[in-house]
């Protein structure tokens, strides 16, 4: 077994110290940071996302795996930045204005980071203007909106409309998600995509980020 698959396996077990030391060891062995990122961390988180989607594992397992992923990512990030390695893209995420629920949104953030995206997490109760401003400031091509409450879901539409009002709809795509959010809702408010769960959100964001501006 290669050290990269060891990293992926240890990430899946949520062993943060072990992931960090294996990443260090791989770097010392002369492995490329990009290879460690993809073959170790992203590969491991991909499996975690898939297992969580099938509920073979549950939220606690994902959160421990995420901690391990960030432990490895912290070591790789400076090297990737120094080498000017492009990330998978930048995504701005947050729970919409009036909604303080953030567990689902955090989970999507974890999975996006685990898929190699730069994630700008604005937190919860985020005003539409802040989403759009942050997307412009960080050069994000995708905004991810989360809402748990049926009463806050309509705010998602305000963000969609603000992006259009500023003429940014070709540069910034919007994906929505949350317990009561559906594909039909996404279409109705004019969002570009719907993430049924964290794993499918990552797939959809990948597709949106690939869409040529």
């Amino acid at each position: 077994m290669s050290i990269l698959s060891d990293i992926a396996a240890s990430l899946q077990r949520g062993e943060d110290d072990e992931v960090a030391s294996l990443v260090r060891q791989a770097l010392d062995d002369g492995q490329d940071a990009v290879a460690i990122l993809h073959g170790g961390l992203i590969a491991g988180m991909g499996v975690v996302g898939e297992q969580f989607r099938e509920r073979e594992i549950f939220l606690p397992d994902v959160l421990l795996a995420a901690r391990a992923m960030y432990a490895g990512l912290a070591l790789l990030k400076p090297l990737l930045a120094k080498d000017g390695v492009p990330t998978a893209g930048t995504v701005v995420i947050g729970s919409v204005r009036g909604d303080l629920h953030d567990i689902g949104k955090n989970l999507v953030g974890i999975m996006l980071a685990g898929a190699g995206f730069d994630v700008v997490d604005l937190g919860s109760d985020v005003a539409p203007e802040r989403f759009v401003d942050a997307a412009c400031d960080h050069g994000a091509s995708v905004i991810g909106l989360s809402a748990l409450l049926t009463t806050t879901m309509p705010v998602m539409k305000d963000v969609v409309e603000l992006v259009r009002a500023r003429g940014l709809q070709d540069r910034i795509k919007i994906i929505v998600g949350g317990a009561a959010v559906s594909d039909a809702w996404a279409r109705q408010i004019g969002a570009d995509a719907y993430g049924y769960d964290a794993a499918s959100a990552v797939e959809r964001v990948r597709a949106l980020a690939r869409t040529p501006a």
Partner: protein
Amino acid sequence: MKDLRTRLAAGEVLVGDGAWGTLLMARGVRPGEAPESLNLTQAGVIEEIASLYVEAGADLITTNTFGGSPARLRQFGLDGQTEAVNRAAVEAVRRAAKGRAYASASVGPSGHLMKPYGDADPVDIGAGYERQIRALAEAGADLVCIETMTDLAEAVLAVRAARSVAPDLPVMATMTFETTRRGFFTVMGVSVEQAVRGLSDAGADILGSNCGNGSVTMVAIAREFRALTGLPIAIQPNAGLPEPLDGRLVYPETPEFMAEQARGLLAAGVAVIGGCCGTTPAHVRALRGIVSAMRS
């Protein structure tokens, strides 16, 4: 009013109330406001909603304190008013009930993940529940309703807090399950069996499930509870999952549909039947009808 435990022991089925959040929003709560703040600012509205459910035939009226733990109120800068917020909610329900229904003191999740998965310290969460439940009990709550739990450790903290600060009150504890290929689990990975064991050991008097994806699934969940415990079972489903309609969201299960599923719940031996998100006084009236018809 007769003692709640006596009625359940005699095999009586009690009817719970329905959703509060949607009715509060319809009366002007704005997203981003703490629904619990209305207990202080618009007690009349709280009393009105409670009255609607009393008139619909509910035996248990939930207090507007789902987010009344200091951990949740802190998000709105209201944790300093924990006692006042919880007290006012019980008082409003008692005014509406006039002895015809029990004040069921709602206690929801703290909204924080506990260590090692999150940052919250279990000691703080437990102390917060004690503070909330003490205020609810002192104001005259008839039972403690710990609901929508997904983390068994947190639910157990809440049950223990109730046992400790309100030892005389019955404790109802319900968790929210998802359907997986391997059966029903909460998002935190708690099975029905683990829930039954953990909540019973902590001292809950009534166990069960609330929220979730609708009343059909709940019949299966109720059967699983029944097979595992002799304690009374409480089931309070959502009216399905909300569906978009003309830019609005509507819950698909009608009162008639839910009442039909209630027959399955009764057959499974459920002792408390009510509603969660998306249910209305009309749903409660329909449930009341089925339960009363069974009794006669």
